[in-house]
Amino acid sequence: MSFSEYKEVIQEGDTVILYIGVSQIYALEVKPKVINKLGQAVDNVFQTRYGSLKVMDLIGVKFGSKVSLSKGWAHVLYPTPELWTITLPHRTQILYTPDISMVVTQLEIGPGSVVCEAGTGSGSLSHALLRAIGPTGKLYTCDFHKERVQVALDEFTRHGLGQRVTVSHRDVYVEGLGVEGVADAVFLDLPKPWEALPHALTAFKITGGRICSFSPCIEQVSRACELMSSMGLKEITTLECLAREFHVKYICLPIISDSKKEPGQKVKEMEEEVLESSKKRKIEDESVEGIVVDEDIHKKIRNDVQEGPSGSGTKLRNNEFQFKTGVTQLKMPGHTGFLTFATVPPECIAKDEIEIKELMLRKCAVWCTVTSRKNYQSMKILRMLQLSVETQPS
C-alpha cells in the first residue's frame, strides 16, 4: 500500500525496503505468512547475511529507523519506484532508472495523463509511470505472457496502485493496445515495434501526444524510425542514456622521489599500507560496519588535513599525496537500449483515423465471420466502427 500514500509508521500489508548495504537492498512485504519452496505457508522470517528478521516485527516501526537483525542491523526505507527497480523480482529483462526517468520526462507524463505501455514485463517502468500519472491518471499496460499479466496485476494491487492501472493479456501486433482515442503517451518495448506502431497511433487522443520505442538493437531502431517518419511523426530523436556512478574514496598516492634511498623504502611501506587498508575497506564496504570504518578513516584524515597548510582536502604527508575523489566503477552497464522518441502531431491522427478505422472494420468483419459464436463484444466493436466510419465527413 505504501507506494500510493504517505505514512510515518509501517503497517501490515506495506512493502518496505530493507537496506543493509550498497549491494544488499531488499523489498519486503509485511505479512504474517509466506509460501516456501514446498508450497507451505510459513512464518515470514527474512534471512540476511547478518541474521534473520521477523518481518511482522516491523509493524509500528517508523520509516527510516534502524532495525536489529539477529547478527547486525539494517534500515527500513520508504519504498519508491527507484528502490523497487533495484529490488523487484525479475521475470524479464527490466528497464533501469536512467532510461525510466528519460522516458517519463520525454513522454511529458504528468498527473492525469493516460499512458499505454506495451510489454509490462516485470513492471519496473510501470511503477514509475503509475507514480507520474497519479491517482487521476490511467495506465493501460499489456503483455503477451498470461502469467506475467496476473503477477503484475497482483503486484500493482498490493502496492495500492490497482485503481490506476488496467493490465491486459494481449498480442499487441495483432490486437493493438486495446484502447482507442484516449492516450497522451505510448511506450513500446517490443521486439518488432514497427508492427505495433499503426495500432499505437489509434490509441492516441485527437490532440496527439508523445510516443517512445525502446529497442536494444540499432536495426530495430532504424526500421521503427523509417516507419515513424513515413507516418508523419515529428521530432523523431534516438538517444542513449547511461548513469556513471562514483565511489567516494580517500586515495593516498606515494610520491616517487629520486633524492635518497631511505625515503624510497618508506614509500614502499606506505604503499603497502594503503593497499592493505583499501583492501580492508573493500571488504568492509559491503558490511554493515563499513560505514563506521570509512568514517574513522575520514576523521583521521580530516584531522590531518586540518593540521596541514592547504586545507583543501588534498595534502602532502610523508611523501604521499592524499585526496578525496569519486572513483569510477571498474565495470558498468555499457548499453541497455536505444530510446526513440517522437511527437504524434494532431494532424497525423486526423489523417490516419479514417483509414485505420476502415482497416479495423475489415479485420473485425473477418473475425466475426470466423468466430461461429457471435459474441457481444465483437458485435459492439463492429457496430461502433460502422457508425464512426459512416459519420466521417468524407
Binding site: S65, H75, P393
Partner: protein, 670 residues
Amino acid sequence: MESAVSFETYLEMKEKLESSEAMIQELQNNNAHMRSQLDELSSAVKSLREENMSLRSMYSSGGIGGTLGPSSHTSTPPPPFYPSTISQSLHNGDVDPQVNMRAGRGPPHRPFSMFEPRQGLPNVATPCHTMDHARTSAYQLSTVRMSGEYDNTRTRSPSLEPTETTPLNLPYCQPTQEEVVRKTEVITKRIQELLISAQEGRHESFMPCADQIHSAVLDMDAIFRKVIMLEKKDEVYEGCTVVVQKGTYLKTCRVVPGRSYAFGKRGDGQFTLNVDGCLGCPFGSSFKMERISKKLFSIQKIEEHPDSLDIVKEGGEDNRDLRDDGQSQKLTPEEIILLKDSGMTGKEVIQAITENSTTFKEKTVFSQEKYVNKKQKKYDEVISILRPSIRLLNNMYYSQDPLKIANLRIDTLSQLLCHVNVQPGGNFVVFESGTQGLVTAAMLHRMGTTGRLVQVYHGNHPQRDAVDLMNFTVQELKVLSFINFTKLPDKLLDDVVKEESTANGTEQMEMDYQQEEKNSLDDNTDLETREMKTDSEVVRPLIEDVESKKQQSTRPRKFIRSQAEDIQVSSSVLRENIEGLVVACRQYPNNVTRELLHYLKPGHPFVVFSPYKEPLLELFVEVKAQSGTNLRLSETWLRHYQVLPQRTHPEINMSGGGGYLLYGTRILKG
C-alpha cells in the same frame, strides 16, 4: 495416457460448457435490454438538444458555440459532462435527475464550452453583476465558490434563476453547487436501491444496481474532472505561452493578438513573426509563414509539411571530382537574399540554389540529401506551435546556453525528478538557484493540483521564470509557495513565537512583494532585467527579443498569495516535515542541504544537484556520517543518434557532461 478422458471429466466439462452458454445467453439478453435503453436515452438526448438549440437561437444572435458539429466528435470519447444550460433546461422541465445522469453519457455532443465566449446569453438573461468582478479576480471568485456551503435546501429554488449558472467567461470555475448536489443525490438514490434489493434478497438485481452506482460515481467524478480538463486546453488561447519551433530553433512567446515577436539570431537570420494565426488551433499544429513585409511574417495553418527532398534525383558516384574552390555556386549571396525576399517559397529558393550549383549533380544522392536538408533548415518557412513542456523548455535553454540553467541537462533533471519521488499528494521542498526555476516548474508539473511544494530561494526574488512559461492553472499554482532561505522556521522554537516573528516582518514583505508585482506588470521584460540584476557574474547571451520589450496589455497574475501568506504556508509545510528534498544550485550546496535535511522525514529521499563533483564529494562524506544512507553520487551520459537508412551513427557533437547528482535517503541514526 493423455488421450484417456474419464467419463466424469467429460460430464464435468459438459456441465461447465452448458453453464457458460447460459451465461452468454444471459449477457446477450442484458445487452439487448441495454441497447433498447440506450435508444430511448439517445432519443431523449435528441429532444433535449433540439430544445437547447431553440433556446440558444432565442438567446443569441451569433450562435458562436454552434460551430461544433457532431461530426468533429465522432472519434473522441463522450465528454462526461453537460454544460449548465442543459442541466438547467432539465431542471426546469422537472425531468428525473437519473435521466440527466444518463444523458450525460450518451452520444457526444457539446453545445458550449465554458471557455467559448457566449455573447448573447449572459447579457440578455440578466444584468450579470459578477461578470466584471469575475474577469478581474477570477482566482478570488473561485475560492469564494469553493467555500460556499453545500446546502440542499438552498440550492433548489435559486437554481431556477439563470443568474446562478456558472459565470461564463470565468477561466477557473468549480462545478456549480446545484450540479454537485444533484449528482450526490443520484448516488445516494442508487445506493438505497441496492440496499433495498439486498434486504429483500433480490439477487438478480445486485449487478445492475452496482453498475448504476458505478456509473453515478463516474458521473460525479466527471464534473470535477471536467474542470481540470477544461483548464488544460488543447487549443492555443489568448494569453497562453507557446513554444515556437523552427527546425531546431525553439523560443517561447505569449500569444497576444496584434503582437509580433522577433525570432532567430540577429542579422540576416532574424525575422519578425505575428503568431495570431495559431489562436484556436490545437497545440502541435504546423504553420506556414506568410510574408507581409520584408521581415514580417504572419502564420497560416497547414496540414502537411512540404518536403524539399524530391529535388534530390540522380547523383554521382563519389566526390573525386569535387573541388572546394568556392566557385561552384553561381548565385551571389546577395542574389540569394533577393530571391528569398522576393516572396519565393523555401522550396523554390532551394531549387534555384541547387540548379545554379555546378557541382550539385555530381554529388552522391546521400550528399545531395544532406545538402538539401541543410538548406531546408535555412530557408524553410514552416514552424510548429507547441505546448510548453519541461522537455521543450530544457531543450530551449540548453540550445540557447547550457550555462543559463547551470548545465542541468535533461537526463540529469529527469534523474533528479525520479530519485526525489515527487508525485501528487506529497510535501516537497526545492531549493533552486541559477536554473531559471526549471526544477520547480518540473516538480510542480509532476504534482498536479494536490500536495505542497515549497521553493526555498536565496536573494530577493523567487526563481520562477520557467514556472511562468508552463501555463500552469491557478489550481496548480496553489500547490507552490515560496520562502526565503533566511526565513526558514526554526524547528526548536515554539510555533507561537514563530507566528509573532512572521507577523512583525509582514508589512515590509508585503511591500517587497507589491513592488515585485508592480515591476512585473510595468515591465514585461522582467525576465531579462532580473537576470541582469541577479546574475552579473555569468555572461548572458544577448537578448534576442527586442520586440517583446513593448508594452503588454494582459498578463497573468504571477503570485497567488502575498509574501506573508506564502511564508505562512511554507512554514507550516516545513514544520509538518516533507517527503522529498531537492537542492539544485550553482552555489555551494552543502550548507543549504545540511539546513534543509532537518525537515525531511526519515526514510525519504533527497537529491542534490551541482554542476561540479567536488562539493558533492564533501557532502557525501558528511551526510553518510550523520543522517543518510543508500547514498549515490552519479552523473549521466547522454548520446543522440542520427538514424537514417545505411547512415546511422552517433551525432557528431555531444554534451560533455550534464552536472552531478548526489542522492540518498535520510535515516534516523542510532
